[in-house]
Every structure is written in structure tokens, then in C-alpha cells.
């Protein structure tokens, strides 16, 4: 069991445009203190890469942008509450937290 007060190195995979914007590779490792949730991971991500602020979550509402999805451990977590704990496999760094841009067909 992951303890809430621990610092965790969480792996985050970003879509191509956000990798360009943050000048990073496909995956980044983010130190997250306390419980590992969507909010704490994204707060830590934006703190480390300020250019990503507002690109994943709306600035005014702090809600996930409609065309952005969150996947982990082969599950769509996009509709989970932002303060719900992410799977232990994400908190322990075994699995990445995936930020995905919705596909645009046509």
C-alpha cells in the first residue's frame, strides 16, 4: 500500500504537441508529494513545466479540457474525480499516467 505522505516519482506520458511545448520527451517523471491523484499529478506537472498550465485543464475551472483524456493501467480515468487516488501502479511508477489528445477524424 502506498502511503499518502510519501514522495512518488510518477511517470506521465504527454501527447506530441505538449511535449513540444514543454521541450520534453515522450515521458516525464514527476515527483509528487502526498496522495497521487489526477490533481496532485497535474499540479506537480504544471509546477515543473509552467508552459503546460492551462493546456490540460481549463485555467478558469481547473477541469479537464474536453478533448483531453486521462488513461492508466488500460483504463479511461477521464471521468474520475480529480481527487480520487490513481492506481497504485501509477503511484509506484510501474505504469504511466497517460495524457492523451482526442483523435480528430474526418
Amino acid at each position: 500500500m502506498i502511503q499518502p505522505e510519501q514522495a512518488h516519482d510518477v511517470r506521465v506520458m504527454l501527447p506530441a504537441h505538449l511535449r513540444t511545448l514543454a521541450s520534453v520527451g515522450r515521458e516525464v517523471s514527476i515527483p509528487v508529494v502526498g496522495e497521487v491523484t489526477q490533481r496532485s499529478v497535474l499540479d506537480a506537472l504544471e509546477s515543473l513545466f509552467p508552459t503546460l498550465a492551462g493546456t490540460i485543464r481549463d485555467r478558469a475551472t481547473a477541469r479537464r479540457r474536453p478533448f483531453v483524456r486521462f488513461f492508466a493501467c488500460e483504463e479511461d480515468l477521464s471521468h474520475e474525480p480529480p481527487d480520487a487516488p490513481l492506481p497504485d501502479a501509477v503511484a509506484s511508477g510501474r505504469e504511466p499516467f497517460i495524457v492523451l489528445g482526442a483523435i480528430a477524424g474526418g
Binding site: A16, H17, L18, A53, G54, T55, D58, R59, A60, V68
Partner: protein, 371 residues
């Protein structure tokens, strides 16, 4: 010899086109921000190396970039466009009150004398100012807080401040145009605003001459005659000679008075350019012939300029911020199309050449005079 730099925003990136003063040969650099929609780029009049770029995406929202070296390199600056104070409501499509929601920056207007000061016209309609080179933004909330604000309503294209005009003769005077609310003027550097729509008539409104609700597409001013404004409206080309207090129609003999861009010759304040398209429901040139129309009499009488432009089978559009002029002599005129062409004329519109082709759809063209 001085030169010209065109800042071209497209659906899939930004391009920088440069030429010497002859304006015969052009180099194309880009795409910058490849794959991103670049709504608008504009350089500072007081420091041409300072350029602001609005990058917008349905996926990842608003990003703002700044260049300090004429567009060669860029840094990401602030994108926090939080409305000031009480958010308030405007009218939604169904007539119900709807809270203001920031969507994107449509237009940057750098200050005339300070490269670190820049105005942003945004959707939902509001104007912001930065005095630190785009790092932080503060709303000039008197515009949205105008008495008429709760009655503003979006058109199908969104409700945006898309035009910002800074009066060179009076630092306190500014104009904005909003689709679909109309023109507003401030005489106190953006603190308070008044609607300036008397004389506009819009048949799509239940009260065609209402104080607000007009879908103004763009306004343009010549710096030496700041009280005269030209307007391309959603139908009708209009003119004001009293700083927007009243407007009269100058569509005259245009084949269609529907279009988006309007601009004024750099040296002749009565020479005006528009690009008519067929109608509000058919957004391409009449008969598939791409023509700029020029009036040398401040409107009313217009002549088609077709030399070098497609004479048939052209079904592109020219968007509101996609035309501009340089300040060389003779004056150069430039515009970009939704088909990805950028056309230029080095003789005030008499002859045109395609200076870029096969770009993504062009959203904006801004001209810089460079050393």
C-alpha cells in the same frame, strides 16, 4: 534599402515571409509552431523584433508566444486570461444568460510606443492588457462591464473582440470591434467604453438599428486622419468621420458588400481596400473570381483589382485579419486566403503576385517594415 516582413498565421503554424524593398523575391521561413493553429501574430511598431503570437487549439487551449528577434526564436509567455471581478453573463443562443468563458485570443495589438505593452482581444468578448511583454494579463473590465454587456450575443463564429485600434493622435482613445455586438470606443485608455454603432443597420436583428448586436467584421483607420474609420460589416461597407459617433454606408458599386477584411493605403487616407465575397452563406468571391476592390474616394466608387489574381475557379475566402499594407513607396498591399495563398502587390494593388502558395489556410497577415 528597407525591407518588408510578413507575419502569416495559419491553421497549421506560422510563417515569416521577407523581402527587400523591391518586393520581388520572397523567402519563406517556417512553419513555426508546426501543427498548431496560429490565430494572429503582430509585431510592435516601436520594436519590430518584438512579435506576439496567439496559438490556439481546441485540444490544449490558449498559448501565447513572444519573439524578441524578429520571429527567429520564440518563448512561451503568459496564458492566464482570467476575467476580472464578477464574471457576469451575456446572452446565449437561446436567449438565456450565459457566463463569460474565455476561449482564445483573436487579436494582439501592441502599443504604439512600448514593446512590452500589448492588448489582446479575446473570445468571449473582452480586452486584456499586458505591460510586461505578455507574461501577465489584466482585463480592462470596463468593456465587458458596459451597460450593454448582458445583451451581447455570439454569432456562429463566436463572440470575440477581433479588432483593436489604437488612436495615434490620442493615447487615451481606443476602438474595439466585437462580433456580434459592434464597435466600442474608450477615451480614457480602456477604463470605460461606449457603444459606437449609430447608423449601422443589420437586418438579421429584430431591431435593425439597435444600439448593440451588429456583426462588425473589421474596422480600419489611417493614422493621419484618426477620426475617419472604415468598416466592413456583415453586409455593408461603412464609414465614420466623427470617430465612430455615426456611420454611413459607402458600399456604392461593389459587387457584394459582404466580406471580412478592410484596410487603408499607407499614404492615401481615402484609398481603401476590401475583398468582397458572395454572401453571408457563400463565403467565396463572386463568380469564382478573386478580386480586391479599391476605392480612391473614401468609399462609394470602387474599382476591381484583378491583375495577377485568379480570374476563375477560385473559391477561397480572405479572413478579417488577413490583409495589411506596408509603408514603402509605392505602398504594398498583401492578403492571405483560406486556400493557403499569400498575394502581394508592390504598387498599391495594380498588379498582384502569389508570394506564397500551398500554405495551410491563412488566418492572419500582418506587415512589418524592417531595416
Amino acid at each position: 534599402m528597407s525591407g518588408v516582413r510578413l507575419l502569416v498565421g495559419t491553421r497549421k503554424g506560422a510563417f515569416v515571409l521577407t523581402s527587400d524593398g523591391s518586393r520581388r523575391a520572397w523567402s519563406i521561413e517556417g512553419p513555426h509552431f508546426a501543427g498548431w493553429e496560429i490565430y494572429h501574430l503582430k509585431g510592435s511598431p516601436s520594436d519590430p523584433d518584438r512579435i506576439y503570437a496567439s496559438q490556439s487549439s481546441s485540444w490544449f487551449g490558449q498559448v501565447v508566444h513572444r519573439s524578441d528577434d524578429g520571429g527567429r526564436t520564440w518563448q512561451t509567455v503568459g496564458n492566464d486570461f482570467s476575467y476580472a471581478g464578477e464574471t457576469g453573463t451575456h446572452q446565449w443562443f437561446d436567449g438565456t444568460p450565459h457566463p463569460w468563458e474565455f476561449a482564445r485570443v483573436w487579436h494582439f495589438e501592441p502599443s504604439l510606443d512600448d514593446p512590452d505593452t500589448v492588448y489582446a482581444g479575446v473570445e468571449d468578448a473582452a480586452i486584456f492588457r499586458s505591460t510586461d511583454g505578455g507574461i501577465s494579463w489584466t482585463e480592462l473590465a470596463g468593456l465587458r462591464g458596459n451597460d450593454t454587456g448582458p445583451r451581447w450575443q455570439p454569432g456562429a463564429g463566436g463572440m470575440a473582440v477581433h479588432t483593436v485600434v489604437l488612436d495615434p493622435s490620442d493615447p487615451g482613445r481606443m476602438f474595439v470591434a466585437i462580433s456580434a455586438a459592434g464597435v466600442f470606443r474608450s477615451d480614457d485608455a480602456g477604463e470605460s467604453w461606449r457603444p459606437m454603432n449609430k447608423g449601422l443597420r443589420s437586418e438579421f436583428m429584430p431591431e435593425p438599428e439597435a444600439e448593440v448586436g451588429h456583426c462588425v467584421h473589421r474596422i480600419a483607420q489611417h493614422p493621419t486622419r484618426p477620426d475617419t474609420l472604415f468598416m466592413q460589416k456583415h453586409w455593408d461597407v461603412m464609414r465614420s468621420d466623427d470617430a465612430g459617433a455615426s456611420w454611413y454606408e459607402v458600399s456604392g458599386d461593389l459587387p457584394s458588400d459582404f466580406g471580412f477584411p478592410i484596410d487603408v493605403h499607407a499614404h492615401e487616407p481615402d484609398t481603401v481596400y476590401v475583398v468582397p465575397i458572395t454572401s453571408d452563406s457563400v463565403h467565396y468571391p463572386p463568380d469564382g473570381k478573386l478580386r480586391v476592390y479599391r476605392s480612391r474616394s473614401g468609399g462609394g466608387e470602387w474599382e476591381p483589382l484583378a491583375e495577377g489574381l485568379p480570374r476563375a475557379n477560385c473559391y477561397t475566402n480572405v479572413l478579417r485579419d488577413a490583409m495589411d499594407v506596408d509603408h514603402l513607396d509605392p505602398c504594398g498591399v498583401y492578403f492571405g486566403t483560406t486556400g493557403g495563398e499569400v498575394y502581394g502587390s508592390a504598387d498599391g494593388g495594380d498588379h498582384w503576385t502569389a508570394i506564397a502558395e500551398h500554405l495551410p489556410a491563412v488566418l492572419s497577415v500582418e506587415v512589418q517594415d524592417v531595416a
